[in-house]
């Protein structure tokens, strides 16, 4: 059983981290793909225009979205050529707040919506700068870590610490209430921890968070697991 659990945990470190690269410059997309794959990102899909990118966004959620500002064929609302920054700003609701998004450009001064984009957490990566590779590696690491952490928190049976604590407190409260409402709660008849204790004593041990109280609570949870069909005798 322990081996099964560790296998599930190990697999979390190779979770797919989906990325979308929006650029019509094949040289750049290929080089960036190679770099990102080396950082554990993948699968990676390409879109060569804003329209194609919009279609890709409908297909699935991406953990990392990189958009070139200079999308010559880009169009939004079918009215006029659009730049990558404009498309990215209008697409942020589809990309979602759980993803890492970045605008890539060699000319940062030409970004019309830089302030609006940065306010919404979009990173700016300067193409061909000395920082470009480092910036992309940083984005990859952020996307991967955030995705893995979210997956762990959402995985059934592996509750996040705060939820786990709340569930633990609720179980303690429930079982303590059960012990304290027994008709014979004062009767010293349980032999636990090499001591003779009453149900009321056990409730006090649980409330005080002693080792004995924790052990009794664990046994209660095992019983509940059996009751709801999550364990076998």
């Amino acid at each position: 059983m322990d081996r099964d659990v560790s296998a599930v945990r190990d697999s979390s470190f190779s979770l797919p981290v989906h990325a979308l690269l929006v650029d019509d410059d094949e040289d750049w997309t290929e080089a960036t793909k190679e770099l990102l794959e080396g950082e554990g990102i993948g699968p990676i899909v390409f879109a060569r225009s804003a329209e194609e990118a919009s279609l890709k966004l409908k297909e699935r959620e991406y953990q990392l979205v990189l958009v070139d500002r200079n999308l010559e064929q880009a169009r939004i609302w079918g009215r006029r050529p659009a730049q990558g920054d404009e498309w990215l700003l209008s697409s942020l609701p589809q990309i979602g707040t759980r993803s890492v998004a970045a605008l890539v450009t060699a000319y940062p001064r030409q970004i019309r919506y830089r302030e609006a984009l940065e306010r919404q957490g979009v990173k700016i990566v300067i193409k061909s700068s000395v920082e470009e590779i480092k910036d992309l590696q940083g984005l990859a690491a952020t996307a991967r870590a955030s995705h893995e952490s979210r997956q762990r928190a959402e995985r059934p049976g592996e509750l996040s610490t705060s939820i786990g604590e709340r569930v633990g407190k609720a179980a303690a409260q429930l079982f303590t209430e059960w012990l304290e409402t027994r008709p014979n709660k004062d009767e010293k008849a349980t032999w636990i921890g090499n001591r003779l204790l009453s149900f009321e004593d056990l409730a006090n041990e649980i409330q005080a968070g002693t080792d004995l109280g924790s052990e009794v609570l664990e046994m209660f949870i095992e019983h509940v697991r059996l009751r709801i069909g999550m364990a076998k005798l």
Binding site: P183, A189, T190, W191, I192, G193, N194, M219, L226, L233
Partner: protein
Amino acid sequence: MSSKSRVVLVAPSYDYLTGHLARWLTEIGEKYITIYDCTLLVGDDANRHTLTNLIDQRDDALILVFFGHGARNGFLCEPGRGETIESDHDLLCSGDDFVRLETIEILAYCCYASLQFGEQVRSRGLNTFLGYKGEIWFYFTREEAFKRVVCIAVEQALAAREISPRSLEVLRLAYRAEHTKWFAGEYSHEPDAMFVCMCLQRHLKLLDTEV
């Protein structure tokens, strides 16, 4: 008491827990003592001197059933009636006390003894040790739930005149049957049924599957 009996039932009686367990084993012993030629060492008789004398009189085989307090390395007894150790109890016996016997079969209804003591016994070829790997809990308001289970296992061992993997199977089935009564059967509506189930579950969980 037959000093040459092959089967020995031992239950010290000096505190709340051992008082109850000794009574259970006495009931079994008195019921079967003539049928199966058992030796019953209960209360004051459950001391190291008497037990080691009894072991010394035999050199072939012994079946030992123990009810009481256990430790990792042996069975415990009342202070002053065994070997003094750093504990609230004395040591009644340990693995070394049985080395001269050809075979020893032990049913240990106590905490922890299946760990070091059990492994020591099992490591010697034909010997068997049926016991628990941790602290087993009791709820004496419903003592019949626990008594029924262990009595079935002891009676089977006495009838078969051996403690074997079959004894483990019988004990496990008895636990499951008793648990069902409290979990979903005739006693499931009792106000304390859940606690009986918890204790029985713990016994089953700690029961060593190596015999």
